[in-house]
């Protein structure tokens, strides 16, 4: 069963981390990623560029409009994701709890929809 873990954190305070702390956090991410790969539960995972580089696209009545930035003003921004393969939600939550963002921000765990047959 696939779950997408969406990592929400305050990107400004993340960017403002002193270099030593940033290195430590990135080290934790690498360790988590490697452990998840070793456990055979990693499918994909990426860090996203900051929200100010984002573009929001909408098509209304056939017209494409683009706007700068993400849809809503929030304290925490989507900063990255992991696509994992977990046995069930309990397993997925256990994995998500080890993602560093779970301590400083939050991780939203969403099951991936399965289409065609159950």
């Amino acid at each position: 069963m696939k779950y997408l873990c969406l990592l929400y954190d305050n990107e400004e305070s993340f960017a403002a981390l002193p270099e030593a702390e940033m290195t430590a956090v990135m080290g934790e991410y690498f360790a988590f990623t490697n452990a998840t790969i070793a456990a055979g539960k990693f499918i994909a995972g990426e860090e996203l560029a900051p929200t100010h580089t984002a573009t929001t696209v909408r098509v209304r009545k056939g017209m494409t409009s683009t706007t700068d930035g993400p849809f809503a003003e929030t304290k925490e921004q989507l900063g990255g994701f992991y696509l994992i393969d977990a046995v069930d939600l309990n397993d997925a939550v256990q994995i998500a709890a080890r993602i560093p963002a779970a301590r400083t921000g939050s991780v939203e765990v969403r099951p991936i929809m399965v289409h065609g047959g159950s």
Binding site: M1, V87, D88, L89, N90, V93, V109, P111, M113, G117
Partner: protein, 421 residues
Amino acid sequence: MTQDGAGSPVSASTRRHVDTVYRTDSRRVLATLIRLLGDFDRAEEAMHEAFAAALVSWERDGVPGNPRAWLVSTARHKSIDADRRHAKFDASVADVTAQLHPTQDDEPTDDDVADDQLRLIFTCCHPALSLEAQVALTLREVCGMTTEEIAHAHLTPAPTLAQRIVRAKQKIRTARIPYALPALDALSSRLDGVLQVIYLVFNEGYHASDGDTLLRTDLSAEGIRLGRLLHALLPEPEVTGLLSLMLLHEARREARTAPDGELILLDAQDRTRWNRALIDEGDALVQDALRSRRVGPYTLQAAIAAVHADAVTAVDTDWRQILGLYDVLLRADPSPVIALNRAVAVAMQDGPAVGLAVIDALMDEGELDRYHLAHSARADLLRRTGQLTAAAVAYEAALALARQEPTRRFLRRRLAEVRGG
């Protein structure tokens, strides 16, 4: 159970028998079927088909030796048949289905059945579901209440409640919330969640006075039933403590309301109207829980309720012991509400002026500002120390926050007294 599958005549005695088994065993049958079929809705559908089939088959062949096993096995076959019908033109799906449902009829043992019931409880009370969804699902699946009954008891429109249950089941299926007992390292926190749901169900019935009182009382009965069930399945000290606490509260139900529906406080209750059998049972349970040496908040609250229950008159109450228990409880669960109750015990033990000072200090921290019982407790102590004008102000503050009608009437009465005095 009113349908009889094929429309053939069914004798009254068979019908009664099936009804009885439905009442006593349908939840256990369901709990096992959810495990075997892997889905709430399929299990429910299959179970109802099996009960319908029982009317015909038990009439013809007599009641089987183990009706529960018969129902589980029949329901399982009905579900497999339904799958085969769906898969009629698709042999590959039928193959998969055959693999999914092993054909041997291994009858579940009593241990399996108990585990299935626990699986059902822990799944309905899974923390990934909202608390309201946990309550609704538990009442529906574990207690077997109908959606309409649950909606009525919660003063919620039935469609809203029905949607809540559908969504919860959808989440269980889609997010794959496992139908499993929690891992040992998670058991204690998961059990806390289950106890919270059970106590919430009980309290909704015990404290609610708006709406249909009779139906709300049913919720207390369901809370106690859940407590008994969990205690039989998993006799952890806090499970025992919660059951004891509910029984000791329930013992006072009759005495806490006057014939005109007015609220009677503990110190004014006619203690001969307390239910002795429930008190004795609650007493024995709390002793059990205390002996475990793993004493948690429910057990401590039950112990406090037991001290009250032991006092023949209000004056005989052992406030020193109650205060000692509150001290321990406050360490186990340092919440402002517990601190408030402790302050009331201080007032009883050391006098209203001392208690008042403790409450005032608590109120200064601000967390109790919106809690009507804090204002009414403070008002009561002001009244007892003769500060009637300040007492009136505090009763008014309580009245502005209290929602339930009997509580409001009680506060209005007290307000009139201090104003008149």
